[in-house]
Amino acid sequence: MKPPRLTYLLVSFLLLSFSDGWAQQTDKVVEIKEVLDLFGPDPLTWPVQHGDRWCWAASAEIIMSSHGHTSWKQCIQADDAHPGKKWPRTCCDYPYAPACNRTGWPHFEYYGFDYNRTAEPLTWGELTNQIDQGLPVAVAVQYMDPGNPGISRGGHMGVVAGYTVLPDGELKILIVDPDGFHGGMWALYDDVFGNSSNTVRHWRTYYDIRPFP
């Protein structure tokens, strides 16, 4: 009697398919908490920076829009943050004018929002509590030269919109970068809120951002 070769092949194939080497983490579920729904279904329609230096205004626009307040465009925020310019009349006319395309900090209070801000990094518990409440957080990091950490090299701001803990215990945060070309990214909590990075360090966090009651 000839051996049933097709059966052998099928059995070998099935055994290979279910061997450890091919099993890719099917036995654990990693819980991810994220508030991306607040920004709308399509990331391509979320606010992005309209000026090269407007990460602070774009981050604020993303967060205020997530509460349904969509009027506070970046150019309006730039006008309010840098008053007294002679030209242009408004930064909405020419965002790239030197008087407009400037660094800054969000002023949520100008637009009917309560908030807290801190130069101390939020603890993991404080940060995740914000996301659990459906509150995105604005965070700025500062670039540094490890050889000369006392001197600021400027920085960048983005929106923390999610978190997770991986099976190895590592804490991760989901950041939406408003600059229009970084998009979103997962980052190590310790890189942004801790002290592990050689390149960046925490600068300032805006949290508990809610419309006035």
């Binding site: 990331p43 990460c55 790239y96 670039y143 215990g169 980052a187």
Partner: protein
């Protein structure tokens, strides 16, 4: 006879399936990782064929960038949901399980203070560029019907203060796609990124050979539009010109606020 023919067809089918996504010699091959395991940090690998026999270990962080990239790849299916997939560059969650890691990009950084002092008539371009030896960007590629194997996203691995290499960022989709797109141009294959963090500017540099020094006539391809200075994504420009433009901007930048 019938069984033999079916067996042969199955073999041919299997061989076809395994050969449909060929890895180029530049791709990073990761060993299979079982649930809950990490790669050992103790094996010193030859280039591109690292850690040939991964072992189970305790939660020891990897010491090498390629191992860190493999760890990052293994975490990816846990980090991509159907909700965040598009934001991170993927079509959907399942696509993140089939990524191939490409050859990494090196990063040359331009410091704000150096840029402020840059004088094109007396200073060298190469003196402005400092290789960041603690950070690499790996493109993440997937195959889709219609456009084949292409970069969708990226993985950043960093050497942290504790001297371990770890995957630190997953995503950066548009930047990753632009980096990969222009790397195909002649002279840009070695994949160097010129980054001016203070001004949030990224360029691809034409350093044709890994062993070659940066030249004074270094050319850059902007990876995003910077309309204030007429810099357009994809339009090649002399590095010296870029640094001359942005030395002025650097001098007006308020380094005490983000931007």
């Amino acid at each position: 006879m019938q069984l033999r023919r079916h067996g042969l067809q199955l073999l041919v089918l299997l061989m076809t399936l395994t050969a449909t996504v060929p890895l180029s010699s530049a791709d990073i091959t990761c060993p299979p990782i079982n649930s809950g395991t990490v790669l050992s940090s103790t094996v010193t690998p030859p280039p591109r064929t690292f850690n040939p026999s991964p072992t189970l270990s305790s939660l020891t962080p990897p010491s090498l960038p390629n191992n860190a990239a493999c760890m990052g790849k293994s975490s990816l299916p846990d980090l991509v949901t159907d909700k965040n997939a598009v934001l991170l560059g993927f079509k959907d969650r399942s696509e993140a399980s089939s990524v191939t890691i490409g050859e990494p990009f090196k990063l040359y950084q331009v410091d704000l203070l150096d840029l402020r002092r840059f004088n094109p008539t007396t200073d060298n371009v190469k003196d402005l560029l400092k290789l960041n030896t603690s950070l690499l960007i790996y493109p993440l590629l997937t195959k889709r019907p219609g456009d084949g194997l292409m970069t969708r996203s990226a993985l950043v691995v960093s050497e942290l203060k504790d001297k371990t290499w770890r995957p630190t960022n997953w995503g950066l989709a548009q930047l990753a796609q632009a980096m990969a797109k222009y790397r195909g141009r002649e002279g840009y294959a070695s994949g160097i990124i010129v980054w001016i963090p203070s001004l949030n500017l990224h360029f691809l540099g034409n350093k044709p050979d890994d062993n070659e020094d940066i030249k004074e006539d270094l050319m850059l391809i902007p990876l995003a539009n910077r309309l204030a200075y007429g810099i357009e994504e994809g339009k090649e420009i002399l590095a010296k010109t870029v640094f001359t433009f942005y030395a002025r901007e650097a001098n007006t930048l308020n380094e005490n606020e983000p931007g």
